[in-house]
């Protein structure tokens, strides 16, 4: 008796009937290419595999064909579900745009006790009236903040050294909480501080209002103190003491640190990572120096080029992977952010890893004097005398006027990487983003020529390095996957 069941061949698509779905590819190394589809799913292929694939000669029962079909690079006559799932994934990736501005930075004062070489904005001044934000300005900034439709709102206190104007921080926190009894947003506060002025009163207030602390730690003591001069030359010790006190008062997860890379840091990445491990942090963000403000003026930015920074990053990532293999769980946060774009259906909140860029529509900054800028870098540029990004002033312009100002909309439109020359055809586009601030600062153009762009060069270097790790090193892959925030 013939079986009532059909065999597997009955269900296969007809051979050589597949069509290609949208994707881009780029050479990875001498004989390999990486193909990436519109939503960031990728496949590394040998050159001859890529040729077979695009010429539609790949056997439709090969594991490579299955892999390409399951990640929606191809479609055949057995299934037409791919466009539905791709649509869904595009929508997931873009969902953040509609959530709109979440991060609202308040520059409560420009005054600071440090005179960091890379700092673009701080003032050594006792004159409160000249450089502090007023309550009236803060009220208007809060009006603006709650105009955002974002379900989650983060208010970050910036400076200068914001604790020099702690009374205003208190005022803003209480006022925001008051408004939030009606607004019901997921409201979070952060103070970005060098911790010099930490008092028990401040810590108690932070604990009572679940305020997070973010500080600067540039590496080992000598490097940190050289980067961050202050009277007494004890910035490192002050920071370390402050971290301990803040952790004891608020909890370890409530205190984070950021490092800034300088020329002096470039050869010391392992020591910098060690310092973070030693201080009990669970990860580090290997940042590059931004080309703004004082950094450019002091020629610091030109003191090292993209290749030097990439070497710094690669050695840092290798070292961190090594630490993980030795049982020390530690994350490089920038890599983790990119991995989220590569390996998950979600998009990152990272301002310059999005297209359009997150300027103004993911984060926004209120300067002490009421001026509104679409990014921290943009207000630094303004402190240097170029107010091209200034969206207006809280005292004179409305929310609508500022959010629809050409100071925001022009760079924003120019930041849609899908329509930018060289970006639109780049395989890494779904992993990348746009940085109009950077390109304006370096090329006096919001788009910039990508062949001359340090932003492009660094990003490409990072993407290639991460893909190599994922592809060629199973042990590294396992560690990297564990960093992904799902």
């Amino acid at each position: 008796m013939a079986s009532v069941f059909k065999d597997e061949a009955f269900f296969l698509p007809a051979e050589h009937t597949y069509s290609l779905l949208p994707f881009r590819f780029i050479r990875l190394d001498s004989d390999r290419y990486v193909a990436v589809n519109e939503v960031g799913e990728s496949r590394v292929l040998l050159r001859h595999e890529l040729e077979l694939f695009v010429k539609k000669r790949l056997p439709q029962t090969s594991s490579l064909y299955f892999a390409l079909k399951a990640s929606h690079f191809v479609e055949d006559n057995d299934s037409d579900i791919a466009p539905d799932l791709l649509t869904l994934k595009v929508r997931s990736k873009r969902a953040r745009i509609a959530r709109f501005t979440s991060l609202h930075m308040f520059v409560v004062t420009l005054r600071c006790n440090h005179s960091c070489r890379y700092c673009q904005v701080s003032r050594q001044s006792e004159d409160r009236s000249a450089y502090d934000m007023t309550e009236a300005t803060a009220d208007k900034a809060l009006d603006f903040t709650f105009r955002s439709p974002a379900p989650a709102i983060k208010i970050e206190f910036q400076g200068g050294e914001p604790l020099l104007n702690f009374d205003l921080i208190k005022y803003i926190v209480l006022a925001a909480e008051g408004r939030n009894t009606v607004e019901k947003r997921d409201l979070v506060f952060v103070i970005a501080t060098n911790l010099s002025f930490l008092t028990d009163e401040i810590l108690n207030f932070c604990r009572d209002h679940a305020i997070l602390i973010s500080t600067s730690l540039d590496g080992p003591e000598d490097l940190h103190n050289a980067n961050r001069p202050k009277p007494g030359n004890d910035s490192y010790q002050v920071t370390i003491d402050g971290i301990r006190r803040a952790r004891e008062a608020l909890g370890v997860d409530q205190v984070s640190a950021l490092m800034t890379t300088t020329k002096a840091s470039l050869l010391r990445v392992t020591e910098i990572v060690d310092e973070y491990v030693k201080q009990g942090f669970k990860g580090i963000f290997l940042r590059n120096l931004s080309p703004y403000g004082f950094a450019i003026k002091t020629r610091y930015f030109n003191a090292y080029d993209s290749d030097n920074w990439l070497n710094f990053y690669r050695r840092g990532l290798d070292y961190i992977l090594e630490l993980n293999q030795q049982g020390c769980a530690f994350t490089e946060f920038y890599t983790a952010t990119i991995l989220q774009k590569m390996l998950t259906p979600y998009e990152t909140g990272f301002v310059n890893l999005r297209s359009p860029a997150g300027i103004g529509i993911a984060g926004i900054i209120f300067n002490y004097n009421g001026e509104v800028y679409p990014s921290d870098e943009a207000r630094m540029k303004a402190e240097m005398g170029d107010k091209i990004f200034c969206m207006g002033n809280l005292t004179t312009e409305s929310y609508e006027q500022m959010m629809l100002s050409s100071a925001l909309l022009t760079p924003l439109e120019d930041s849609v990487a899908e329509s930018v020359p060289m970006c639109e055809e780049c395989a890494f586009l779904p992993y990348c983003g746009s940085d109009p601030d950077y390109h304006y600062a370096t090329q006096q153009d919001f788009v910039g020529h990508k062949a001359l762009s340090g932003f492009c060069k660094k990003k490409m270097g990072i993407f290639r390095y991460i893909i190599h790790k994922l592809e060629d090193n199973p042990e590294a892959r396992q560690i990297l996957e564990s960093w992904v925030n799902w």
Binding site: F5, S79, I81, D84, K89, P345
Partner: protein, 386 residues
């Protein structure tokens, strides 16, 4: 294995109730008169006289005395019946079926035997018959079920072939048993029609989940397992539509020789495309129904797919998806998977075998389907924990 149906019902009284009746059974001889009129009394002991006023009487031993008009003699295998259970009796055919057991955590109700798939490992081979009466009976039974019932599984066949009558059933569960979780086992294909998915959402059942099988990331492979061309696309569209309509969805994967090889790939596909699903169940093979005829095609010793299973669980769990392993014996599961194992086999078909004697971890074990005697892992070894 509990016997849920019996065709050897003997009528002892002078009257039988006409047609099919759905009744709750009681063991309380002092039950209030006003309540007992709708119930059948379960006669456990030799009572010289049975309490009057019940709608009928179920005996386990033939009484010596005269009996009320509506009385039946039951097979000893039905002695598990107890207070609050619900039975369906067809006196003219001499049959009884237990529809609901109050003390069970695993009440499942079969609502149709019809199906639009023809899965190679179907445990309940479909029959193309008119079985609308099953819903009618269930609609009678639902109001009789205890409000404390933790969960009920609606199974088939393919429940969505009932169309609007499935909505009627879900609505009855929502109205009469608002605190009971309802789990519908469906192949999801009919939810490719968004209006139908939306109608399920509009029932607004407070604790409803649709469990939908997905066997591969590749359409032709899924279609082969379920023996239906186009099923993969229908099922994926159904899952998307249900989630769009706000209905919870569980993805169910039965592990066997035709599904284990691409299990990691399937897990990656799920986490990339269907991350929004509420639960993923990775399930052992039940060796009954069609599985018996296709056993040589389907069988793989569970021990041999542990690497793939471990990988799939890590992929899904890593993506913060809720993942469970069902129907697996702890001793064949990789140690790292023990925390995902659930003891889920319906109590009426869960058993242990000779090799399990002396095992100290039976209580946590997924156990065996009673049908597993046909074929089971060569690696069953009892635990001897302190």
């Amino acid at each position: 294995m509990l016997k849920l149906s019996s065709s050897r019902l003997v009528s002892l009284g002078c009257l039988g109730e006409n047609g099919v009746v759905v009744r709750r059974v009681s063991e309380n001889p002092a039950y209030a008169q006003v309540c007992r009129r709708q119930e059948y009394f379960l006669v456990r002991d030799h009572l010289s006289e049975v309490p009057e006023g019940f709608a009928g009487y179920l005996f386990f031993e033939k009484p010596s005395h005269s009996v009320p008009a509506v009385s039946y003699l039951l097979e000893p295998s039905l002695s598990y019946l107890s207070n609050g259970d619900i039975v369906k009796i067809n006196a003219s055919q001499g049959s009884l079926r237990t529809l609901y057991r109050r003390n069970s955590r695993h009440n499942s109700v079969l609502v149709t035997e019809r199906c639009n798939n023809y899965c190679l490992m179907c445990s309940q081979p479909p029959r193309d018959i008119n079985d609308c009466h099953l819903v009618d009976e269930l609609l009678q039974a639902i109001p009789l079920m205890s409000r404390e019932t933790v969960s009920v599984v609606i199974t088939g066949g393919e429940p969505t072939l009932l169309g609007d009558r499935l909505l009627e059933l879900l609505n009855a569960f929502r109205c009469y048993l608002p605190d009971t979780a309802v789990h519908v086992l469906s192949n999801g294909r009919n939810f490719r029609n968004f209006d139908y998915a939306e109608a399920i959402g509009r029932v607004q059942h407070p604790d409803l989940m649709i469990g939908i099988p997905l066997y591969s990331d590749i359409s032709s492979k899924h279609d082969y397992v379920v023996q239906a061309d186009g099923a993969f696309d229908d099922t994926i569209r159904g899952i998307i539509n249900l989630k769009t309509a706000g209905v919870k969805v569980e993805i169910r994967v039965v592990l066997h020789n035709l599904t284990y090889a691409r299990l990691s790939e399937l897990a990656r596909f799920i986490r990339r495309n269907l991350t929004f699903c509420d639960h993923v169940a990775l399930m052992g093979l039940e060796i009954t129904g069609f599985t018996r005829s296709n056993l040589e095609k389907l069988w793989i010793d569970p021990k041999d797919y542990q690497p793939q299973l471990r990988d799939a669980v890590a992929i899904l769990d890593g993506a913060k998806m809720d993942v469970s392993i069902y129907n697996h014996q702890l001793c064949v599961l990789d140690h790292s998977l023990h925390r995902f194992s659930r003891n889920s086999i319906s109590d009426w078909k869960n058993e242990f075998i000779g090799e399990c004697n002396g095992c100290t971890r039976k209580r946590e074990c997924g156990g065996f389907f009673s049908s597993a005697k046909v074929r089971y892992s060569a690696h069953i070894t009892p635990f001897h924990d302190e």
